[in-house]
Symmetry: C2
Subunit: 152 residues, 2 copies
């Protein structure tokens, strides 16, 4: 297997994993700091889905950091296939959660033109934007993994 930026055990790969955790954690923090998020199924699903995303990305970040410190190769076909399956499942769940929350956020901001939860509405928007950023970083990781497996 080739060793290009973003593959497991590289600095770029580690940065991508850390970014996934940071964006997902910031999104959850922004959503959880609102008063009425638990009244919306979509927002609860966003928190649950991003919680799974953080767990997955954190474990992968630890593995990447271990491989970097010990200078070990992480590019066996079985390991990369496992990473791909996990990446695609979490990426799909994160995209679905971000989209469903954005549907609700856009409904209140754009369609109904009245968001009665004063102060909270900006937090909903911020949370959705951060969830999409988290999805973009996990999508980049997933594509790099598929490319790595395809080029092996």
């Amino acid at each position: 297997m080739k060793d290009f930026p973003g593959t497991p055990g590289t600095v770029t790969g580690l940065i991508l994993r850390v970014l996934q955790c940071v964006f997902a954690a910031a999104s959850i923090a922004s959503m959880a700091s609102t008063s009425y998020f638990f009244k919306f199924t979509a927002f609860c699903y966003l928190i649950a889905s991003l919680g799974l995303q953080i767990t997955w990305s954190f474990v992968l970040a630890l593995i990447d950091a271990y491989a970097l410190v010990r200078n070990k190769a992480l590019q066996s076909t079985v390991l990369v296939s496992l990473f791909i399956v996990g990446d695609w499942i979490t990426a799909t769940l994160t995209l679905a959660a971000a989209s469903s929350s954005s549907g609700v956020a856009i409904l209140y901001f754009n369609d109904l033109k009245s968001c009665s939860f004063i102060g909270d509405c900006q937090k909903y928007q911020l949370s959705v934007a951060l969830a999409f950023l988290s999805w973009i970083t996990i999508a980049i990781s997933s594509l790099i993994m598929v490319w790595l497996l395809a080029s092996s």
Copy 2:
């Protein structure tokens, strides 16, 4: 390249493409038959996204049918790579559209417990369910395409 069920130019591949078109068209029909769908950004996006899905799947269905009738092979690496890119883009857009619409539909049905658009609410639900079915069939096609390219 191997020739297994679901690959381009096979009967299963053609059935999958036709199912994608049928589910997407039924979803659009169910949504467009409601009176107030244009007031919801998420529902308009669903129609636009599934419109793109139908166009893409219909073209691929025609190509599959042509290959079946003329008994031609469609499995060059360049062609399959092109199919994969198109499949993944439309699958991502369809999932995002189905999720954002489901966020709004669940908000009205479950969270607010009041859907004031009498008769239309069941159509919203039906449309979202059909959009998810369309996404499942395009996801199956996409995975088969990636598997085909990986095994070549």
